[in-house]
């Protein structure tokens, strides 16, 4: 009786093995990286409506802190020297 299950298990194991092999043997293309270096634009070419800007990731972080309250970082001390 367990022969049926052994067969089913073998099929599943084979499919899993093939998945792993295809995952390990894939050659990563560098085209995307080369293109990013060329254009230096971060916006994905994901479809957007005409009223949505292509570079919608740009957030305004200007008001992150009050202009006079500059946070002290380690580099301040380095520059102070």
């Amino acid at each position: 009786m367990s022969k049926i299950f052994a067969t089913l298990f073998s099929v599943l194991a084979l499919a899993f093995g093939l998945t792993c092999i295809s995952l390990l043997t894939v050659n990563k293309s560098t085209a995307l990286q080369s293109f990013a270096q060329l254009s230096t634009l971060p916006g994905l070419a994901l479809s957007v409506r005409y009223f949505e800007p292509r570079n919608r990731f740009y957030a305004d972080e200007n008001e992150r802190f009050f202009i006079d309250m500059r946070p002290i970082s380690t580099m301040d001390f380095i520059y102070a020297k």
């Binding site: 299950f5 894939v26 995307l32 060329l38 254009s39 916006g43 479809s47 957007v48 957030a59 200007n62």
Partner: protein
């Protein structure tokens, strides 16, 4: 108890109760398949995008006017170059061009092809590119989405752009970017910087924005403060903001699916609980015989839980393999449109096969744990039946 005979008996039971298990197996496979497809697709997209982050500028400077980003004066780049820690200030020229016939937007990017680094990158991207021939005439390099759209309107070799000054500018299609870069290049047109200025209406004293590079990450916060203090109408975008935005974008769409999954899983758990609670008289007899033969309650629970685990594990494995095939071999038809959108140029990309194993184990736990929890109580209820009463 858990020896060869136990498993033989377990398989016999599974075969005997196949009608009961098969519907649960099919539903489980379907649930795992849908969720795994979403997770694999979202993760593969995120992985692809994260590889491009290194090429991004550390700071992007934009000039703001009335809440909108306007063209930045070129003189600003010289000003920023003087800030300690900034190694390179690069004015960029890009913008959107409205393609009237189809009411779509292309992204035009102007590149200075005499810049050695840019030229090298282009050669790496498009092999056998004759730069001399490319620069002889007004030429452009276009993405797959742009090519498909221009072909639709019979612009096979060239396109005539209209400048803001109502002039017409004929630009030849020189080559198409490789399909592997479509995630970024699908709606993009790359041309000479002066030509891009003319088509987008950006004067020679201006640029769209300025990209700044800082080789020392430790100085980033300090430089950021200095940049913000330089001008009142300035917007400074850091590389980390872009990384956060990518994460937000994919988490938002993936999160929606996760919420739906939670609802489906809860419903499924209830169905499972009800299904396994319905102990039929034959089941009762079966348990009664086992108990009379000397099986303890614990042994019966182990048998019942293992039986359910086999079904759940098999369904998980099959669902996941099907999802892998669907996303990386078939390129996730229908589902990919949810991530790429329907509104603009159709995207045709092959994703790089990658799996985050921590995510797979999380998926496994999120599926197996509720499944086993729903099955455990009915199994225990069935196994505590009095053997004498059950066999009567």
């Amino acid at each position: 108890m858990q020896n060869k005979l136990f498993y033989n008996f377990l398989f016999l039971l599974l075969l005997k109760h196949r009608i009961k298990h098969i519907s649960i197996f099919i539903i489980s496979t379907l649930i795992v398949f849908i969720l795994s497809s979403v997770v694999l697709l979202s993760n593969a997209l995120q992985e692809e995008i994260n590889t491009t982050l290194d090429s991004q500028a550390d700071f992007v400077i934009q000039k703001m006017r009335a809440g909108k980003s306007v063209n930045t004066p070129l003189s600003w780049s010289d000003e920023f170059r003087e800030i300690e820690g900034i190694s390179q200030a690069q004015p960029r020229v890009y913008g959107q061009y409205f393609f009237k016939p189809n009411a779509e937007h292309f992204t035009i990017v102007g590149i200075d092809f005499f810049d050695e680094q840019k030229s090298k990158n282009l050669q790496k991207l498009i092999t056998n590119l004759d730069m001399k021939k490319f620069l002889e005439k007004p030429n452009m390099l276009i993405g797959h989405g742009v090519k498909a759209l221009l072909d639709k309107y019979y612009f096979f070799d060239y396109y005539v752009f209209k400048t803001p000054h109502q002039k017409k500018r004929k630009v030849n299609i020189y080559q198409i970017f490789p399909k592997e870069s479509s995630l970024l290049s699908n709606d993009m047109i790359i041309m000479d910087i002066d030509l891009a200025r003319e088509i987008l209406g950006i004067s020679e004293e201006q640029s769209t924005d300025i990209a700044l590079y800082n080789p020392n990450e430790l100085e980033a916060e300090n430089i950021y403060v200095k940049l913000v203090l330089k001008h009142a109408d300035i917007r400074v975008i850091q590389k980390s903001d872009i990384a956060k935005a990518y994460k937000r974008l994919f988490n938002y769409k993936g999160g929606l699916f996760l919420i739906l999954y939670m609802i489906v899983l809860l419903t499924f758990m209830m169905i499972l609980y009800q299904r396994y609670s319905m102990v039929q008289s034959s089941d009762k007899k079966e348990i009664g015989i086992l108990r009379a033969l000397g099986w303890s309650i614990k042994d019966v629970i182990i048998l019942k839980v293992t039986e359910s685990f086999m079904v759940a594990f098999g369904a998980f494995l099959l669902g996941f393999i099907l999802a892998f095939f669907f996303v990386f071999v078939l390129d996730a038809p229908l589902l990919s449109n949810i991530f790429y959108g329907y509104a603009n140029l159709p995207m045709d990309i092959s994703l790089h096969r990658s799996i985050d194993f921590s995510l797979v184990s999380l998926l496994f736990l999120f599926y197996i744990l509720p499944f086993m929890t729903a099955v455990l109580i009915p199994s225990w209820k069935a196994s505590v039946i009095d053997p004498l009463e059950a066999m009567r």
